[in-house]
């Protein structure tokens, strides 16, 4: 029975910590930026940069999911859908206008679709919302292979134009890395700022004590809708960066597996903490790329590791320091 005894820290609500007067969010953001900056100098070779690129894109997706899941408290699996919308529409738009304009248009379209979706399913509760949004992502994966004008032959879009600034295209691994790193760090601090804004505080209040929030005039439904749209727009942004840095998009790059992977990242990383996102992505996405030499056993090893981590650290990797601290204090 829930709430009877908790031997281990649980991932119960409040999902995200109230950030007011807590410095770790900024500090972790700075630390993350510093690590990315160092990695950009330390690493050489296109293979390493491909891995880093994957890590950063999944971190961006995990951060988007953090906004929807941890800040707004919505259990939604639609992020891969918005990632796909960004990845497929951005090259189409970029052929017709400058990148900044194309990005704005893509984000606007993504937000509009997110708004329609969340208004449609706004009354659904946890499980129903999760599956309805999963269904939405699934609908899009059927659309990709069947819309040649925008999504290419059978949904395979090759030779996507790299982004160019002031006439010079970002093509080599290292400049591409810097561009993506700038994107992910910007997203990180944007989310920290959102959590510290009125919107973020309202969301914390609404999640932790809905009655008190309602009495104080916070419109919970409006807060949820806005945060869902914002998170989806972030995913579309990640999709755009993904398309132009990889130069290739296929239906598999935005299918339901991506939504599920992002969910795994956030829970394993620690849903209460924003820095759980990069940490979880490191374990969930980068580790399997590193152990491919185990061949067949890599998948099994990874799945077992996942179950073991979730059993021994249900609050995620980011929850371990707090758990240790509490243990030490009690002893």
């Amino acid at each position: 029975v829930r709430g009877f005894s908790t031997r281990r820290p649980s991932a119960e609500t409040p999902a995200a910590l109230p950030v007011i007067y807590r410095g770790w969010q900024f500090a972790s953001g700075l630390g993350f930026a510093l690590i990315l900056w160092l990695l950009g100098y330390v690493f050489t070779g296109p293979d390493n940069f491909t891995i880093l690129q994957t890590w950063m894109i999944y971190t961006m997706l995990a951060l988007s999911f953090y906004v929807v899941f941890s800040v707004a408290g919505l259990f939604a699996f639609s992020l891969a859908g918005f990632f796909g919308i960004g990845a497929y529409l951005s090259p189409y738009m970029y052929d017709r206008m400058t990148y900044v304009l194309a990005l704005l248009v893509v984000i606007a379209i993504g937000s509009a679709i997110a708004f329609l979706l969340v208004v449609l399913v706004r009354r659904a509760s946890d499980l129903y919302l999760g599956i309805a949004t999963l269904g939405f992502a699934e609908i899009l994966t059927v659309v990709y292979p069947n819309w040649p004008a925008v999504t290419g032959v059978s949904g395979n879009l090759y030779g996507i134009k790299p982004i160019s600034f002031f006439g010079s295209a970002v093509v080599n691994p290292r400049p591409t890395y810097w561009l993506t790193a700038a994107g992910v760090v910007a997203l990180y601090f944007l989310i920290v700022a959102i959590q510290r804004s009125t919107l973020g505080r309202n969301a914390t209040a609404m999640r932790t004590s809905p009655e008190v929030a309602a009495v104080n005039g916070i419109d919970a439904r409006r807060v949820r809708i806005v945060l869902f749209v914002v998170g989806s727009a972030f995913a579309a942004f990640a999709g755009s960066l993904f398309a132009h840095t990889q130069s290739y998009v296929s239906p598999e790059s935005a299918d339901v597996t991506v939504s599920i992977t992002v969910f795994i990242i956030v829970i394993i990383g620690g849903a209460r903490y924003i820095w759980g996102a990069p940490l979880g992505a490191l374990l969930v996405v980068v580790l399997p790329l590193k152990i491919t030499s185990w061949a067949n056993y890599a998948n099994l090893g990874f799945a077992i590791l996942l179950v073991v981590v979730i059993i021994f650290a249900p609050a995620g990797l980011a929850g371990i320091p707090g758990y240790v601290r509490r243990r030490v204090r009690r002893a």
Binding site: V1, R2, G3, F4, S5, T6, R7, R8, S10, A11, E12, T13, F75, L117, L120, V121, R123, A124, S125, D126, L127, Y128, L129, G130, I131, A132, L134, G135, F136, E138, I139, V142, V143, N146, V256, I260, F263, I264, I267, I268, A271, N296, Y297, N299, L300, F302, A303, I304, L306, V307, I310, I311, P314
Partner: protein, 291 residues
């Protein structure tokens, strides 16, 4: 007209296997509150076990199919001990993740055991069809329908008429109260996971009768079957049947006539619309359940 009737009949056949897959899912959800994302992979496991018992073990086909069921039950017990029992105090999302992990482990283990290629299960029922006028009905479709009807009927009977069923329903309504009244809630969970796994195994065998078996067999069907459960609402088994019929018909009938390339989207469009209009499904959700 013939095409219409044949599409409708294959819609019913699809609905039968979906309902069977969803039945285990809903049963586990109602008794333990766990969204079991491994349900599809359990079906895949059932199909692979069927290939093992019919092929390598060389049992007669009927016996081989039956032999899969106790194996699935034991696996369900292990599953519960591993992924549910240690996480009893955790939030639903953490348990969901554990079931996802178990599902991935099943897929990975099956790949090591049998390789990534497609396999075929020795069918129990012949691939012929009975002809009524111009309409052909495959024996396998009839078999799926009968098996699904029997399983759903049996579960409905146990839930409605037996002491065990009353205990499960009490647990669904209020876990704590059920426990105070002496229902051994934590003893119920392994049993329910076992039965849910057996149902998934049956569904897997039925699906494998007509299609090639591969690692994502069940996982690909899981979403459709959950969609069926959601359309009907988790509250009643009749809702499950209704939802499965809606999904099967939407896929086969609507898919045959409207935008054939997009046939697969209709179940999900239907689901989103149902959730928009009736957030607890057509026949209502579980009273007082925390979803």
């Amino acid at each position: 007209m013939v095409r219409f009737i044949e599409s409708a009949i294959s819609g019913v056949a699809v609905a039968s296997t979906l309902a069977l897959l969803a039945l285990g899912f809903v049963l586990i959800y109602r008794a333990t509150g766990v969204i079991n994302f491994a349900q599809g992979d359990l079906a895949t496991l059932g199909a692979y076990l069927g290939i093992w018992t019919t092929g390598s073990l060389g049992l007669p086909v009927g016996l081989a199919y039956l032999a899969v069921l106790p194996l699935m039950f034991v696996f369900g017990l292990l599953f519960e001990r591993l992924a549910h029992a240690p996480l009893r105090n955790q939030s639903t999302h953490v348990v969901v993740l554990a079931t996802l992990g178990i599902g991935m482990a099943i897929r990975a283990a099956l790949q090591i055991w049998r390789g990534p290629n497609e396999l075929n299960l020795k069918p129990l029922v012949s691939a012929n069809a009975v002809h009524i006028g111009h309409v052909a009905i495959a024996y396998q479709d009839i078999f799926s329908f009968v098996v699904a009807a029997v399983c759903i009927g049996a579960v409905a009977f146990v839930l409605a008429k037996t002491s065990l069923g009353r205990q499960v329903r009490a647990t669904t309504d209020d876990r704590i109260a059920a426990r105070l009244y002496g229902v051994r809630v934590n003893r119920l969970a392994p049993l329910i996971f076992g039965v849910g796994s057996v149902l998934a195994g049956v569904a897997g065998l039925l699906i494998a009768e007509t299609t090639a078996v591969q690692l994502n067999l069940g996982f690909d069907l899981l979403l459709n079957s959950i969609a069926a459960a959601i359309i009907g609402g988790f509250g009643r088994l009749s809702g499950l049947v209704l939802g499965a019929l809606v999904v099967g018909m939407a896929e086969q009938l609507l898919g045959a006539y409207v935008l054939p390339n997009y046939g697969e989207i209709w179940p999900f469009v239907a689901m989103i619309l149902v959730v928009a209009v009736r957030p607890n499904g057509l026949l209502g959700g579980i009273k007082g359940a925390r979803l």
